[in-house]
């Protein structure tokens, strides 16, 4: 039987076309995105710096990641053109702080608004509004705004550094907010301190954790999907430009091996606007689970050995990432050297021609911006978003990452829930 399911309460909407057998088990799942805005074309012909204002508008929940990808891309064009461009350690650290904030707030919203909410609903329990989670995510955004001026949609990073010039007052405020966020994660999300959480992961006890994260896992268990959602177990982390690794091979991965495949799109007679992103011609999973495995974070590696890339491991990886990002932000705030310059003026963009690439690790995975610039003007611009990797639509022979994870689910509803563990975003996927 073929059924179509509209997936809402994600970023935007998606349609899943399911093929099920007589008992309702999912045999095949097709992923469709039907909205398209043409962001790349909007950028062409403009001053390259205008991209810093336009690309954040690709996505309301990860616009900051797009900003940082753009700024890195432009800086890369400078370097490729043989023009030196310097960024102080301080500016780099501030960019990393604000970017991490975006990841943390995203993960909190996903855990509460999507995972907790949808799993409870399937169990027939009416979940309320997760106000405490929204409050704490707004605090994280406030931490970000202390440096970036606002969240969402700031344009505070420019080639050469950042526009802000913070003092100790901002650092002090930021550390205070961070402490509150850490308390929330400890008391509400985990129900234990971070050491106990690490122990629970290593000793396979995550299911007994008392916080809301434990509730999500138990909901998944009650629904019988906790150990489902297994995909290809191929992971990719392209961020941090220099250090590019494919987990399954541990060889240095290179951006040149990335390709886009538009065979499923409307333009090619298909029925989605989303192009697939491939590495060496294959689907790879990107995002928190990939990052944890590539960084060889102990707890997630242990879970992956036991449960593979199932819902259990994937959900825990996102929660684990909240914890490790908070620690990283604390470290960066504590070691900020405010006496360094925020911004080192580079030569005018109008003197620059060439190509560049900017890669960041966005909440959902590796985000790539590529462009060709001619005397400061954008000639062409290409964006490959994390969701293109994870939500790409293959064939029944070679299914994409989320597609494979859904095949075999006992019902279309369960498959849809597994789909959501990938933190679906349709606005980014199509851009």
């Amino acid at each position: 039987m073929i059924t179509h399911e509209l997936i809402e309460r994600i970023e935007g909407e998606a349609v899943l076309d399911f093929k099920t057998d007589k008992s309702g088990v999912v045999q095949d799942a097709n992923i469709r995105f039907s909205h398209f805005r043409g962001m790349e074309a909007i950028l062409e012909g403009r001053n390259a710096l205008d991209a810093l204002v336009i690309t954040p508008r690709v996505c309301g929940i990860c616009g900051h990641s797009h900003l940082i990808a753009t700024v890195k891309m432009i800086e890369n064009v400078y370097r490729n053109a043989g023009v030196s461009i310097r960024i102080s350690d301080k500016a780099n650290a501030i960019r990393q702080i604000t970017l991490s904030c975006e990841l943390i707030q995203n993960h909190i919203k996903w855990l509460y608004l999507v995972m907790l909410h949808e799993s409870a609903k399937m169990l027939g329990e009416e979940p309320g509004v997760a106000l405490k989670a929204l409050y704490v995510s707004s605090q994280v955004n406030q931490l970000c705004a202390l440096f970036s001026g606002q969240w969402p949609h700031s344009s505070y990073a420019l080639p050469g550094g950042v526009t802000c010039d913070p003092t100790h007052i901002e650092v002090m405020q930021a550390l205070k907010i961070l402490s509150d966020v850490e308390c929330f994660i400890r008391d509400e999300v985990l129900g234990c301190d971070v050491d106990a959480f690490a122990q629970a992961m290593e000793h396979n006890r995550v299911l007994s954790l008392t916080g809301d994260f434990g509730t999500v896992l138990r909901n998944f268990e009650r629904l019988g999907v906790l150990e489902q959602g297994k995909s290809h177990s191929r992971f990719l982390v392209l961020g941090d430009t220099q250090e590019i690794i494919v987990h399954s091979q541990h060889s240095g991965a290179i951006a040149e091996n990335v390709s886009e495949d538009s065979s499923q799109t409307f333009a090619e007679g298909g029925n989605t606007y989303a192009k697939n992103a491939l590495y060496n011609g294959e689907f790879f999973e990107t995002g928190p689970l990939a990052r944890a495995l590539v960084q060889e974070r102990t707890g997630i590696s242990a879970l992956h050995r036991l449960y593979g890339d199932s819902a259990l491991t994937r959900i825990t990886a996102r929660v684990d990432e909240m914890v490790s990002l908070c620690a990283e932000v604390r470290e960066l705030l504590m070691s900020l050297d405010l006496s360094q310059p925020s911004f080192i003026t580079p030569p005018s963009i109008e003197s620059i021609s060439g190509e560049g690439i900017g890669i960041v690790e966005a909440p959902r995975g590796s985000l790539i911006h590529r462009a060709t610039i001619e005397k400061g003007k954008i000639v062409s611009y290409t964006i490959i978003t994390p969701t293109q990797w994870n939500l790409g639509n293959g064939t029944s022979m070679i299914p994409g990452i989320a597609q494979k994870a859904m095949i075999g689910a006992a019902s279309t509803a369960k498959a849809s829930l597994l789909f959501r563990t990938f933190d679906v975003c349709s606005v980014c996927t199509t851009h």
Binding site: Q150, C164, S342
Partner: protein, 298 residues
């Protein structure tokens, strides 16, 4: 005054959007209070009564319809084209809020398809959107995104039955009577024509070289701060003019000048008077404003 002010019924519908206004609104620290007096019949992320599919099937009545994102007749939600869905919901509500610059004027996404995409009442400056006949019901909250407090303010005014004074684009004067320039910490530098020579400093005004549009952009960004703590100009970023129908202009990080005078004048100031004033102001050399505010930053 609404019939049942205790529980105002709201539908939040999205056109062509990035979800930025949705996420901006989730930052409102008063969200909890807000939800005590409001009920979402539909919302794209928050728990609500109707799914998108049900919304499209029932086309329910509401007290307030919030529209986020740009309008295009053929754009679909749950399989229904906007040209059918939007007027149907709009005719069954008493108040419409056009939230963000896309819904208000077309915004960024209009750049991708200028012929087909517009705001719901305005298309850039012109009043030729699909809901122009219902303009009296519409309140414009432009901004990319709109500030969460701007939305709370309007809903609160509607719920308590108060009159909202509006400007020519139907934006509340209480929010858009100000210029972004108003309340900017760099105002003294502006007055004495002290340029912020490069980005990344607290000192200097961003109008003379860095493209700041604060002196001619309506918005209370420097009065009602973003995320309670900051604003673009406070963090050293020039205002990009996102509340105006002209958004997005181009060359946003540099100021177009004519004989080293910015070519766009602060709102309401004739060029000739400005030139006289600028000459006088520049003849002062105020040491305090030429130095850094804090010598040892660390």
């Amino acid at each position: 005054m609404l019939s049942n002010p205790a529980r105002v019924k709201i539908i939040w519908l999205q056109g062509i959007t990035c979800n930025g206004n949705t996420h901006s609104f989730l930052n409102d620290p008063a969200l909890g209070n807000f939800l005590e007096s409001a009920e979402f019949i539909h919302h794209p992320l928050l728990p609500c009564k109707n799914t998108l599919k049900e919304l499209v099937k029932k086309l329910p009545k509401s007290d307030i319809l919030i529209f986020e994102g740009a309008y295009s007749a053929s754009f679909e939600r749950a399989g229904m084209a906007m040209e059918t869905l939007l007027p149907a919901l709009a005719s069954k509500t008493s108040h419409i809020i056009s939230l963000g610059s896309c819904a208000s004027f077309g915004g960024i996404f209009k750049e991708g398809n200028p012929e087909q995409i517009s705001g719901i009442v305005f298309d850039k400056e012109e009043e030729k959107g699909p809901l122009r006949a219902m303009r009296e019901k519409v309140i414009t909250l432009s901004g990319c995104p709109a500030h969460p407090k701007w939305l709370s303010f309007v809903i609160d005014m509607i719920v308590s039955g108060k009159r909202i004074a509006l400007d020519e684009y139907r934006r509340p004067k209480e929010l858009y009577g100000y210029l972004v320039h108003n309340g900017c910490l760099r105002n003294e530098y502006f007055e004495w024509k002290v340029d912020s020579h490069h980005f990344g400093t607290k000192e200097g005004c961003l109008y003379y070289a860095q493209g700041c549009q604060g002196p001619f952009t309506h918005g209370s960004c420097n009065k009602i701060l973003w995320n309670e703590v900051s604003s673009k100009t406070r963090s050293g970023t020039p205002c990009v003019g996102c509340t105006e129908p002209t958004f997005p202009k181009s060359n946003l990080f540099s100021t177009k000048t004519y004989m080293s005078i910015p070519s766009e004048m602060p709102l309401g100031i004739p060029k000739r008077s400005y030139l006289a004033l600028a000459g006088a102001a520049k003849s002062f050399h105020i040491k305090r404003l030429e130095e850094r505010l804090i010598d040892d930053n660390a």
